[in-house]
Symmetry: none
Subunit: 200 residues, 4 copies
Amino acid sequence: MGRKSKASLRKQEILSHFYEVIIEEGFEGASIAKIAKRMDVNPSLLIHYFATKDGMVLGLIDYIIETYSTQIFPDFSGTQDPSERWEDVLDVVSRIQWSRIIDNSVFYSCYTLTFRNIEIKRRFKDLYKGIINTLAYEVEYASKAGVIEVKNSIQAAEFMISLIEGTNYYQYVSPFGMEADDRAERTKNTIRTVLSGNRI
Amino acid sequence: MGRKSKASLRKQEILSHFYEVIIEEGFEGASIAKIAKRMDVNPSLLIHYFATKDGMVLGLIDYIIETYSTQIFPDFSGTQDPSERWEDVLDVVSRIQWSRIIDNSVFYSCYTLTFRNIEIKRRFKDLYKGIINTLAYEVEYASKAGVIEVKNSIQAAEFMISLIEGTNYYQYVSPFGMEADDRAERTKNTIRTVLSGNRI
Amino acid sequence: MGRKSKASLRKQEILSHFYEVIIEEGFEGASIAKIAKRMDVNPSLLIHYFATKDGMVLGLIDYIIETYSTQIFPDFSGTQDPSERWEDVLDVVSRIQWSRIIDNSVFYSCYTLTFRNIEIKRRFKDLYKGIINTLAYEVEYASKAGVIEVKNSIQAAEFMISLIEGTNYYQYVSPFGMEADDRAERTKNTIRTVLSGNRI
Amino acid sequence: MGRKSKASLRKQEILSHFYEVIIEEGFEGASIAKIAKRMDVNPSLLIHYFATKDGMVLGLIDYIIETYSTQIFPDFSGTQDPSERWEDVLDVVSRIQWSRIIDNSVFYSCYTLTFRNIEIKRRFKDLYKGIINTLAYEVEYASKAGVIEVKNSIQAAEFMISLIEGTNYYQYVSPFGMEADDRAERTKNTIRTVLSGNRI
DNA sequence: GATGAATGAGTGTTCATTCAT
DNA sequence: GATGAATGAACACTCATTCAT
């Protein structure tokens, strides 16, 4: 009895349109009306699924974080040789900035919400917890095999994340135009330096 | 020179109230009406001085960047001993995150505008150009005195900025609570490591 | 007779929830969605049973008037002594205000609809026709027995209703706080005075 | 400096249009948009003057109560002869119902708000306090001159108000059509009866 | 220099209702 | 009998802005 629920599909559809509108019009420019128009649907339908706009924003954050955390890292366990595997990690990590699955303007807009919404902050923390854990695991793996020399894998992971996010942040406002590949190479070298000689 | 015009003072007053409202209500929440209310002044007065809200935003960016760039670095030239002087630089730099003169939520909101407004992007680039130059100068100074070993001072400065901005970014979403002093110490050590042995 | 249909039960259930919502949120605040939420049921179900909201309102009026007219008077015929019986009538009548079975805010909201909906007005007239008849009958009964002296029983009944409804109306906006019992006693005395000496 | 304030005129204008719309469309039907349309003015202008709709409603209540309380009674002090003066009072009082300056549907709608808004309730109480005082004064005046015989003038005034309001209430739902003059005559007689022989 | 009147587009949200399932 | 999808009009209210004074 009742009609077949297409809630989760519709929600997903709404969220991805929300995401697109943010890219085109900015976060504050993304109104329910505009999203609905783009979907060729009545605005109240969005309310029907998310009750409030805040709910929609939270849904978007979840969507983004889900996407981000599932796609950021490939499966490194396929590579057996520890040295090769560590190089894979470095490659992926140093290229996060321009392979970012989520549009940077959207991502930073969401990050900004962190300061005013503890629920969103919590979700971001969860995201980075996962990232740190994955990274720390790979550090330990490489360290045990003697590829790198690291005392504290968590601390090493935090250093990596900070450097990468900082590089990403900086590249958009850097006065020096630069090839993405070159910047990635630099980042890799810096990481290699720091994670050698048991410095961390 | 000469004394500031009344108009310029009024503008300054408006901008600082704008700034406060952003802190309390977020960037999107900072409407002309709210700022005017807080100033106990008529909304049209703000328009009178800035013509449009976009103009006001641009004014705010200038205000923020001006504040930021003039207050971020003290005058290092007072310290003669190169080693001491470099330590001063490291101290200041590693503590940027929590000594940030501009509220972080406001700063990141402005940074986000960078993606949609090339004028704002240009100003951010100018800001970082100045920062990079100052830093590169200090790197060179310390390098010449043998305190550190660096080949490319610009590249070194960019590394420092990236790490610091990244650390600042990360600390708000880090799953691990941590003393600001400890984090600063870590950052300093990492910089020392990287800027030794002519690695950069 | 026979057992009530399920539909009729459901309707009753909806109406009583409607009634409750009006008490809590006011007449204008009582939307289909809120009623449905309170019933933990889908809004379209209410439409399914009443077709339109106007229909629901009409149903509520019927429900209220039905309740009101069946419960307002007990069966006076049990008391044989005319003097006692008249006292019973006076007791009941003078206490209508605070024994009102229907919440006063709801009742007055419905009364107000009278001005804009002739169908609702008709039902109110029917309600008062019944009340007047009952009262006139009792007046006549008491009058014949010499307990009171009245020429026109209908007119007497109308006077009673007017005084009682007016007292009820007034008590909510009276600047003088007053015991309900005292007000009832006053009302009774006034009625006794007026319905003596063949004045009406 | 600044523009000439026409706030009080505009507010009055808005209120009287509000009043008209209520008469035509009912209280719940009187939306800001409809009032604005009738005034041929932008809806936000109404908000400009009253900030919220609640504020507008409160303004309307004040307007109605002000109108009501200043126009309900003429100046009786012109008539010297106590007997004539008392007759004047009775005439006015018994005709309140159909000389009501304020439309009854609007008045009852406002009365209904009394149950959900204590501020409005307070204003109604103030209104009736004034009415009671005026009436009690006249009762005392007539009583001292021997025109009527009354012990408690306040109680007498409350009786009069209750009867009149009740008669007004009842006439709209009475099953018996009746000439307004006849009903007024009845009311007068009833009051005369009750306020004689020191019964109250 | 500053105010207040006024606008018009836009906000998120609620409303009663329809219809397919 | 009941649900959930979907609509479209309406709601109160906020927005940046213009203009007369």
